[in-house]
Symmetry: C2
């Protein structure tokens, strides 16, 4: 297991570096990739970046003005990638990764060198320290990228993963020029007309089970097509189902294909989301976990709701 | 104008202190009152607390276990009170206030001694420093109160008023035992079933005008009665209408009485909310303003929407 010093030592020695983000990219994996790219380029290195999926428009500012190189990569670095399967279409590159920088407790090793700190709220916390260890400056653009990753991975400092260190790093980034309020407005307080349509449906369609301790929301392809939301606009919906007073398990059931449904499960203390999802071959954290169930929607719903019921009875 | 040292000096010398919060109390005024009460009592002083309005249930934990005294107050301190009118029914006490601790730039002096720092995101930032200056310990219970005030006044660190210092104070409070995630969940991520009903109606009933640049939401007494929400649960709704992408004017029309409607108008740059509200005898800031219109609802809506349309045409 590598650490901060080892990761810095490796990167100082390397050049022609390809940085990979995970599929369905979020603020943290993209914040890491854009900030680290900027720092390595400032140190005179050639850098490339790839992600299996398109970068959502709201994150595009993080990559503005980065001069990526055109070269055959000598080294590959993944950021915030817990499993090579999460590279999506780039998974074949997974066996060639030289350094994986991650903060997931469930990290499944695939790289030659691994630096994982599971107590960090965001992989961007690691990248912030790494950039300083590399001796590169935290420019305002880098501060924006890092702040974005930390803010989005902590739900704007709302979730239990935000520690005193998280707040202190955010303070440092604000002093280095991170436009915290502007970033947070775009990330948390801007809704497209399609999202307004989605919210209308979400609040109407939400169902409650087990004496209202379990809330369920089904995001079918039909609903998504009718509202016109983009994939990345569905992010916030998983949070809504567990915001209801008294709800222990908040479930989002997302249609992925014919008879294929992805479950996002959020749990409030003392309930354990990971335990429920493990029964269906999935996993995650105590507070948030996921799994995929292959069956028709009504059956999927019945199975996962029943599993939540058992877990609630055992509390 | 007093400062931190002067405020600490006064409080060290005083005893039998009455602390006052502003009417319609929020997390900041109550966080100040409860934290300062706890610290002063720990220093051996007798303390009382009063507020013109009832403390919302979600803030009650801040006052758990405080031993308020029964005495004739010798000194009165207000916290987060910008104007003596904001004492509500306790306004008669406004002329007898010995020390006002506040962070509002628009503070209208009414106390014998005034300590105002307008660049502080929350009055709780001042109280945090004051408690340390008094030599009292920041206990976990005090840290909870202070964190609550800072988090609620910054929209969970989302608004532009949250500075690097705000984040650092929050980090210190977390290390002193503030249960940040639990507090934030109650403050920001907990919706009663009534609020879920309200949201369902809000998203269904919201109307758009002027090529979707103006969003309107009507909060009638009938809607509020049907959903069963409490007055303090309506807080977030004004924000929803201005979160829609492309919306320049977000309007909430709230029924106050027969043919009496209070308009809350939010404007996105370059639109000016105050200019529109001034036409109806109201006022406010460029970004947020209000007015009251006396007419039936449909007429009120037509008038204010027309005024917004004129303002949009003039942009």
């Amino acid at each position: 297991m590598a650490d901060l010093q080892r990761a810095a030592e490796l990167l100082r020695a390397w050049d022609k570096i390809l940085i990979l983000s995970h599929r369905s990219p979020d603020g943290d994996t993209l914040g890491c990739a854009s900030a680290l790219s900027r720092a390595l380029i400032a140190l005179g290195k050639s850098v490339q970046f790839r992600c299996a999926d398109e970068i959502p428009q709201k994150f595009s500012y993080m990559f503005a003005g980065i001069s990526f190189g055109d070269f055959e990569p000598e080294k590959i670095v993944t950021v915030d990638v817990a499993d090579k399967a999460l590279l999506g279409a780039l998974e074949p590159l997974g066996d060639r990764v030289d350094l994986a920088i991650d903060h997931h407790a469930i990290h499944r090793p695939f790289a030659k060198e691994i630096w994982v700190e599971a107590n960090a709220a965001a992989a961007c916390q690691l990248i912030t320290r790494l950039i300083s260890a590399l001796g590169a400056a935290i420019t305002p653009a880098i501060a924006d990228c890092l702040y974005t990753g930390i803010s989005t991975d902590t739900g704007c400092f709302k979730y239990p993963n935000a520690t005193a260190e998280t707040y202190r790093i955010a303070a440092d980034l604000i002093e280095r020029g991170a436009r915290a309020a502007d970033i947070n407005r775009v990330m948390f307080d801007t809704k497209s007309r399609a999202v307004i349509e989605l919210m209308k449906r979400v609040y109407s369609d939400m169902e409650f089970f087990h004496n209202d301790r379990c809330a369920v929301l089904c995001l079918t392809n039909a609903l998504i097509a009718e509202t016109g939301v983009r994939e990345d606009e569905l992010d916030g919906t998983a949070a809504i189902v567990r915001q209801v007073e008294g709800v222990q398990f908040g479930l989002t059931i997302r249609e992925r294909g014919e008879n294929e449904y992805k479950i996002s499960l959020r749990a409030a203390e003392p309930a354990n989301a990971a335990e429920v999802c493990q029964k269906f071959g999935g996993g995650g954290h105590k507070g948030a976990a996921g799994c995929t169930i292959y069956a028709p929607l009504e059956e999927v719903k019945a199975q996962i709701v029943a599993a939540c019921g058992e877990a609630l009875n055992a509390l």
